[in-house]
Amino acid sequence: MKVTFPHMGHLYVPLRSLLKSLGVEVIPPPPINKKTLDLGVKYGPECACLPLKINLGNFLEAIEKGADTVAMGGGKGPCRFGYFGEVQREIIKELGHQVEFVIIEPTPLDVIRKFRYLAGGGFPVKRILRGLQLAWKKLLALDEILEKLREIRSVAVDFNRLEQLYETACSRIDFASSQEKVAQIKEEIIQEMEALRETGKEPLIEVGIVGEIYTIIEPSSNLHVERRLGKLGARVYNPLTISYWVKRHILHTEKGDEIERMARPYLNHVVGGHGLESVGNSVIFSRKGVDGIIQIAPFTCMPEIVAEAILPRVSKIEGIPIMSLFFDEHTGEAGLVTRLEAFVDLARRKKERKEISKEEEEEVYAGLSGN
């Protein structure tokens, strides 16, 4: 069995670890590039969302490299993702490839069942547990490094070097075969990133990101929005990481109560995907004092369209700029850059006015109290 899977940010690192521990040969797809997208657009349904098309491109490229099995996630809706695998399987079959799809539903029972299958029927518990632990440690380390990247991006002395450090972290941790090595690499990288902080510099503004999980996590699907924002001096907060998702939906160590509560005046029900989260987190971000919120989603994403219809009112009542960015294969770089620059500008001016009016307010109080 030569197993491949879809790309999503640095997911391939822990996933490779995990699959190796099951004893299968792993053939990750090549890094997402223009060909990946072209293949997905050519063979995928026209109005399917971008993630499905990118997945499809990944699979086809991996099949070219010899993969004969695809490991894919499942779901039970109402977001389309749950049925991606079924459609992708049929398309690939129609193209004449003899490929098996192993679709892993997000329930503990199915995870175990499919792992057993991939492991060839047996279930060497100790080896798999060790594999799981290593994979989890790798994922946590990379998410921590990603958070550091976000922290330093808007105040970096050497922007390119900073980005390079993240890439290096991914390949070094991918290669690491022990938890100790992973921890060591993580410490080194985080220190080097911190060293790239320009002393005394503050970001221009703080921006919160909400939206659909794939387009948020996979930079090639959002034209590297976070990197661009960082370059424009915006410190980006993005709580939706892969490890957060696992903690929330598999381990249940994170709860969504606060998100639901904050969303309630605006949206009173789950709508699948991360639609409710987008509304709830927007309110939470606003109360935390960020200067602007950007919603990121694939074109035609149903849950995010619901959020998009509601966010303008959130923006009005909370008094915070919110911009929605929907991406598909036709989204142009130039238009995006213009919108981002305008948004950062708007948020910055609002922030300055708030600070000026705060100063004015204090002056008035000082005057009133006879100082």
């Binding site: 049929e90 605006y266 029900h269 709508v271 074109f299 035609t300 619901v306 219809a309 303008p312 929907f326």
Partner: protein, 334 residues
């Protein structure tokens, strides 16, 4: 000066599927039921201007219907449709519909937006009765009775469509203007043709004659007998989807896919037409599956994609070409 309270039901989205139930329910509770006019250009344009760009056409249109009704009624019925059977739900936009409406349109009257979350035992029905009773200040018994009558009327409506092979919108015309004798629902038995085409799509596209530019009538004029998913019995739909590897979790698309599989299996149609709106999430996946299945059986498929810019011009040409193709294919087998 006591007139009945007016409940407005926008003539869009699930109106085409469930109106008989709702009409019976509210009438039984002594409301006057008011619906918006049939879709027209103004309603569509208003809807497009009120809704976000990315949302699919039927939802945009619904916004227009809501806007048209809001000043003429005391209460607007905008249900939060979650599910009607277990393990299946519907497009996410239905789940957030009342919230989208509330946050996009001003000067709305009271919105009655109960959760329609049924199909998992009796609890969902209890909650629905509870919500209605509390909102309207009526006894649970009275509301429950009205709900029962509504559901019964709906079941009869659905059965009639299957038994008589008649289109829902023809029957609905009857319901609204009960005394109108001259527009008798047409039946298709009289159409003499060897050619049948399966017309697949959501009910709010198939039966809104403004949106689909009178598609059904046009196809019939071209000598084609038209079969839609509502005409397939639930048992046959179920048998159709049992062949799937993984159960589909959208109720409406299950009906569409199951009907397609059934029609293909029985060889009941010479062609399939998929009517979808640009950007429809579930259709983008299910449509692909239907196309692949039809392809394997060498049944021609035509995809008609609607958005607010759909013009009449190219439309008729495509339909004629498709009818020609079907004629040709059947003729050649003689």
């Amino acid at each position: 000066m006591s007139r009945k309270l007016r409940v407005g039901i926008p003539r869009g989205l699930l109106y085409y599927q469930y109106y008989p139930a709702w009409e019976e329910f509210f009438s039984s509770l002594d409301f006057e039921v008011v619906i918006s006019p049939p879709t027209n250009k103004q309603i569509l344009e208003k809807g497009v201007s009120l809704a976000v760009d990315e949302i699919c056409l039927p939802f945009k249109l619904y916004f227009g219907h809501v806007n048209c009704l809001k000043e003429r009624v005391d209460i607007l019925f905008v249900p939060r449709f979650v599910r009607v059977e277990k393990r299946r739900t519907v497009c996410p936009k239905f789940l957030g519909l009342p919230d989208m409406i509330r946050n996009s349109i001003d000067d709305l009257p009271l919105i009655f937006a109960p959760n329609i979350d049924l199909g998992r035992g009796i609890k969902g029905y209890f909650r629905l009765v509870e919500e209605a009773s509390e909102t309207f200040g009526m006894s649970r018994v009275r509301t429950a009775r009205a709900l029962y009558r509504g559901i019964k009327k709906l079941k009869n409506f659905e059965k009639e469509i299957v038994n008589r092979q008649i289109f829902p919108h023809r029957l609905l015309q009857d319901t609204e203007k009960e005394k109108l004798k001259n527009s008798k629902p047409e039946e298709q038995g009289s159409i003499d043709t060897r050619l049948s085409v399966g017309l697949l799509g959501h009910s709010y596209l198939l039966y809104d004659r403004f949106l689909n530019l009178g598609l059904i009538e046009k196809l019939q004029k071209l000598g084609l007998k038209v079969i839609t998913p509502e005409m397939i019995s639930p048992e046959n739909v179920k048998r159709g989807v049992q062949t799937l590897r993984k159960d589909l979790f959208w109720t409406f698309n299950t009906r569409i896919l199951g009907s397609a599989i059934h029609l293909l299996k029985k060889g009941a149609v010479q062609g399939l037409i998929q009517l979808t709106s640009f950007g429809c999430g579930p259709d983008s996946l299910v449509g692909e599956l239907i196309e692949l299945k039809a392809h394997r059986q060498k049944v021609p498929v035509m995809n008609l994609n609607l958005d607010e810019h759909s013009g009449e011009a190219g439309f008729m040409t495509r339909l004629e070409a498709f009818a020609d193709l079907l004629n040709f294919k059947t003729g050649s087998s003689f």
